[in-house]
Structure formats: C-alpha cells, structure tokens
C-alpha cells in the first residue's frame, strides 16, 4: 500500500476549504431558487415553465454535490479525531530558564500542534480580525476553543457562551469558566481585542482540562490541581489577590495562555 503523509495542518486546511465550498453551494442553491421566482411573469408562460425545469434539475444536482461534500467533511472530521487520538501530543512541555533575575518557568508548545494552531490563530491577526463582523469573530472563538479542547484531549463537551459586562472599579472580566456547566464564558466587550481573546479562551479552556485531570489524579500535577480545586481551597481573588494569582490552577492556566499566544509569532 502506498503511504501518504498527513498533517493536522493539512486536515485543518481541508476542513476549512470544504466548509467554504459547502457554504458557497448553499448560497448558489438559494440564488437559484430566488432566480426562478424572479424570472417569470406568468405561470403559464412556456419559457418560464422550461426555466423551471432547468432550475429543478440544477437544484437536484446541487443537492447531490452538497450530499457528497458533507459526507467528505464528515470523513475529514473522523480522520482528524483519529489523527488526534493517534498523535496525542502533550501539547506543552515545561521549560525553566535561569537568568540573573532568577528562574522563570515557561510552557513550550509541542511542534505537532503548531500547524493546526497557526491555521486557526491566523484569524486572530489584528488586521484580519478587524475586518470580521461579530458573527465571524464568535465563530473564530468557537473554532479556537474546539481546537484547544481537541489538542488537550478534553473528553467532556465544552461550549462557549458570550456575555456583556462593563468594567467594575476599573477591573475587567475578560472571561470565566463555569465549572458546573462546562461553559467557557467570554465577554463581548473585549471582542475587538483578538490577542486578549486568545489569552482568555486558552486560559479558560485550560481550566476545563485541569478539572478533568483533577478527577483522574494520575500525576503529581493532577493531584495538585485536585487539592487546589477542593472546596474551600481555591483562593478567591477578592480575598487574597496574590494568593489567587500564584495558586497552581491559575499559574498553570496563565503559562498555558502565554504559550498559545506565542504560537502566533
């Protein structure tokens, strides 16, 4: 059997191309239907009836093409899931760098994840982002969330919810994780800032991942998360801001978000 080379980046590009073509075909279908009703002046007009036959025929053919394209998209989706399961990258590795001012910890993104990440993060480049309307921006946020969930191997269904909240006493709420409903909540007020959106989505998705790891308790870090997330142990921001900032789940989420943002470079 001949071997083929598959990359996650390639799969992501193929998916986007299929989705765009499917979108175009649906638009074409709508235009065809509209054209039919705009054409004729009389239902009994022979030319109008003939045009109607052609339109019906092309609509049927369009539907066949759509069926095939949607089936292809499903196959690519399945391939992507199989690929992710096979590759199972750890996504980030911990790097400690020592300098004159001390040791700093960074997370470094696994090379295998950089390809698909860069495709999705391409939408968040400020010049590209500013041309999108709110519907497209929300779709990009959703794509980023789904990709990060896949790359992190998050099992539970995670969705995104948008809310609107102004700053309170100068403090902004960019987003939060609703653990009870596995919802990543993003503040609409910050949709104009793509880099802060990446930061917020990555940060909150990491909390979803931490919640799953805390349940598994397979590694020392999982146990740290479990300890931190036990009721009464999570340090609230209002009670102890630096305690909140430095607790394991927040520190880990912050480092992860920085690593995802750096994948744009």
């Amino acid at each position: 059997m001949a071997s083929i080379r598959v990359s996650e980046e390639g799969i992501e590009i193929l998916k986007m191309a299929l989705q765009n073509v499917i979108g175009d075909y649906y638009s074409l279908r709508n235009e065809l239907e509209k054209a039919y009703f705009v054409l004729g002046e009389s239902w009994l007009d022979a030319n109008y009836l003939l045009a109607g036959e052609y339109v019906t025929k092309y609509l049927r053919e369009t539907d066949n093409v759509l069926y095939v394209l949607e089936h292809c998209l499903k196959v690519v989706d399945d391939l992507e899931n199989a690929f992710c399961n096979y590759m199972s990258p750890s996504l980030v590795t911990t790097v400690n760098r020592t300098s004159s001012s001390g040791t700093r910890t960074y997370y470094s993104i696994d090379e295998r994840a950089l390809g698909p990440l860069s495709v999705v993060l391409g939408n968040f480049v400020p010049m590209v982002w500013s041309a999108y309307d709110i519907t497209v921006k929300r779709r990009c946020v959703y794509s980023l969330l789904k990709l990060l969930c896949r790359l992190l191997g998050i099992v539970g269904r995670t969705e995104v919810r948008f809310f609107s909240q102004d700053s309170v006493n100068g403090a902004e709420t960019l987003g939060y994780f609703d653990a009870a409903r596995n919802l990543v909540c993003i503040n609409n007020r910050h949709l104009d800032d793509p880099l802060s959106i990446i930061d917020t989505v990555a940060h909150e998705v990491r909390h979803v991942w931490q919640k799953e790891r805390a349940r598994k308790k397979e590694t020392e870090r999982d146990k740290q998360f479990a300890e931190n997330l036990t009721e009464g142990n999570y340090v609230q921001y209002e009670v102890n801001p630096m305690g909140y900032y430095n607790q394991p789940v927040e520190k880990d989420a912050r480092l992860f978000a920085e690593a995802i943002k750096s994948a744009m470079d």
């Binding site: 403090a171 917020t200 009721e231 009464g232 142990n233 209002e238 009670v239 801001p241 630096m242």
Partner: protein, 99 residues
Amino acid sequence: MEEDILGYFENDLHCSTAQAERMLNELKKHEDIWREFCHWFSTKKFTDNKTCIREKGYSAEELFEKFDIYEVGAFNLLVSLRDNSQETEEYIKKGLPKD
C-alpha cells in the same frame, strides 16, 4: 480574637480550615500589619491615613478603594508587597487583572 477571625474566614469567606489558618499565619508574621488588620476587624474602619502602614506607597484602604477586593484582600496585598515586592508591584501595575 483569633478564633473570631478564623470563623470569619471560614464562614463568611468560605475558606477551608487549612486555607483560613494559612492566611491567619501569614498576617501574623508581620506584627504591624496584623495589628492594623485586627483594628479593622474590630471596628470595621481602616487606620487613619496619617498613621497607617504603607508598603511601596500603598495603604490597605487605598488598595481596597482602588481594586475590586475585600478588606482582608487589601491586607493580604500589603503582606505580599512586603514579602514579594517585585512580583506584587508588577501585578498591581498591570491593574490586578482577574483572569
């Protein structure tokens, strides 16, 4: 007084016993900050602006007014400014963002 403070941490702020004790010990490490905190806890008023403690120019009352934190959060920030001034100052300068 310590029992009352621990009760406040556990019942009003919903901290675990371990977390409440940790916070209490951190505050007690610095006698002057602890004294000012106890004054607030007893009277529910901050120490006068002229005699209050300032760490890197910040008083507890100013921190409480400036940021969306509780009074105990302001005192904990004073402790952090004293113990870990560089990182805490950087965090404050960024606006104490809540992720």
